[in-house]
Amino acid sequence: MLSWFKKKIGGAQPLPPEQAAGSEAPTPVAEASGQQEDGASFFLRLKDGLSRTRKTFVRQIDALFLGKKQIDAELLEDLEEILIMADIGANTTQELLEKTREQVQRNELADGQALKTALKEMILDYLINADRPADLALPAQTPFVVMVLGVNGVGKTTTIGKLAHKFTQAGQKVLLVAADTFRAAASEQLQIWGKRVGVEVVAQQAGADPSSVVFDALDYAKPRNFDVVLVDTAGRLHTKVNLMEELKKIKRVMDKKIPGAPHEILLVLDATTGQNAISQARLFNEAVDVTGLALTKLDGTAKGGIVINICHEFNIPIRFIGIGEQMEDLRDFEPNEFVEALFAEGEA
């Protein structure tokens, strides 16, 4: 789905966009194997990573639907519980169930099975409507500058490490920029990731002005033919006005150095987060116009249903999911597959 990793960006190694292999065909399995991996094994690993999430979900929903020929109040109530427990949010849940109720009243849904299909489609709609082709973000000329942001501890630095790995695997030259100069040892953390992945890291002393770190880093990057520049920023709560101003300034500096940069503004959200993720998405988006989301920590038992909410409300696509702490533990977000798996029946 993400062609970021498939081709050289921009002028560095000219490749007409048409050649970016079959980007419109919605064939999840092949598409997901963006990192020159064996498709089947990738698919399996993806499912494996999400299995905890999905198994609980799938089991619950199946237990609910299978035995039920009748759609009754009890079934709808159980459904409400499942949706809310998945952090989809009380309001969105009401909305979904309201629509379902209408369909039931119109006798459009014959049994539990039909109800399930209808729900699945509704949720998928929420996700797909927000989709924006990722390759649109790619600039005509390198470097492709990605700014990563989010509240404290969600997994920004780790996601950058994983992304760097992904880009490197695709043969691109990556630079990491340590613009979190605030949290203790934040730049050391990024430097270790740089070593792990084998990419350069630009950093300054702790407490330096993040905008000037970025300014210098882009100066450094420009003549050196980097394909991708990944900028790590300090975690900040979206309610802190001065810190959001700082973010705006960093963004302005990028645009000054490289007109059009940052090309992607990736907001990292923690799947464990509840309804507050909405407020995060809203305020970060208001400050800097978020262009994509990464949802981390889906390897736990949190269901990540908040995703549905955010896509629906803000029309921002989910680019990646994080399913672990290692550099391979990043996956493209695939709405079909995500919902399919949520509702899939007893996978052996």
Binding site: I84, A86, L237, T272, T273, Q275, T301
Partner: protein
Amino acid sequence: MFESLSDRLHDVFKQLRGHGRLTEENIQEALREVRMALLEADVNFKVAKEFVATVAEKAIGQEVVGSLAPGQQVVKVVHDQLVELLGGQTATLNLSGRQPVVIMMVGLQGSGKTTTSGKLAKLLQGKGRKPYLVPADVYRPAAIDQLTILGQSLGVPVHPSATDQDPVAICRQAVHAAQSGGYDTLIIDTAGRLHVDQELMGELARIKDAVQPAEILFVADAMTGQDAVTVAEKFNLDLAISGVILTKMDGDARGGAALSIKKVTQRPIKFVGMGEGLDALEPFHPDRVASRILGMGDVLTLIEKAEAVVDKDKAEKLAKKLKKEGFSLEDFLEQIQQIKKMGSLEQIMGMIPGMSRIKQLKDMPKPDEKELVKVEAVINSMTIKERRNHAILNANRRTRIAKGSGTTVQDVNKVIKSYTEMLKMMKQMSGKPGGLGAFVGGPKKKKRPKGLFR
């Protein structure tokens, strides 16, 4: 902004006034609202369900007393019940017993364990104890460096752990090191881990066995959703935690996770994290968090925050002056500047009960840097007379002010409009101008402000 529960119930109960008694039927809708409010605040589904049932039991049969509207009465039952569930136990640290005593920090990745370890070290240092920080996270890159830097900034020694060591061995050695160094409190910072990671959960159990901590503190993010229950339950099951610390409460999370965690672990919430700085650790106040979960305005926190940033003398002078002369444009400027120090305006306003009912809020100036500079410039270009009496600001004067401040007449109008809106709001809130004085440090705190249970 969240609509507060009392606001919601206000509408639900309009018809009920004078009905005399709360019955199973007439509070159904109110209970639905209570439930929605809890779910919106991330209280776990099952916990919310149980909670609502308890509230119903307590509320049904109550007389609707004259001065309280039925909605307010339900809110009171809900609030009291929440406070009861959230609090109950004294929430001090248990540092008695064999010295050196061990505190162990556990929790999910990124919840704030390392930062909170630093905060606790600072707190204990201030109480005359001699803390010893122990980095036992060998997995996350630079985690040891992180704690080491925090320790250095506090002047608290940090155990020289290395990433190739076994965390259990590190902790064992650290106890000896602390003993021989004359330190009385070890704070062990463990790696974040998922509750479903049996291997790493086992590691925590082994550390526990090896060092017999007096406190095992589960560090949880206030923004956590429904899963808080699953996670807390598992950590408690495997480790028998002794308390909870709720971090990142300085944001706008409603913090329903607090209730979920308390409910499933039955362990006290001992502290809340209110920022990234090492002094941003506060005792847990059940009543404040209860109000916050219900979206009813965290008035006490607001007042304390204001106290912290406002110069006391200045505040008292201002309060006096407000009483005598009302709220001038100069005061307005000062307020805005204070508010800037406290956080976003929306956040501050959200803490004031009843505020979410006031629609003008949308027109309030957003305290963005540039905006504030403009407000300041505009007010500075006014004469003293104008600042004290905005009514004389006619078109001529406005043009002059715009020129003088390098802004436009629109900007000047906007400032004046914001000011008059604020004046109006203050009148609504307190019945007299200057009511806001109460939150910038005037007479404070004695009682729960009126608006709360209206």
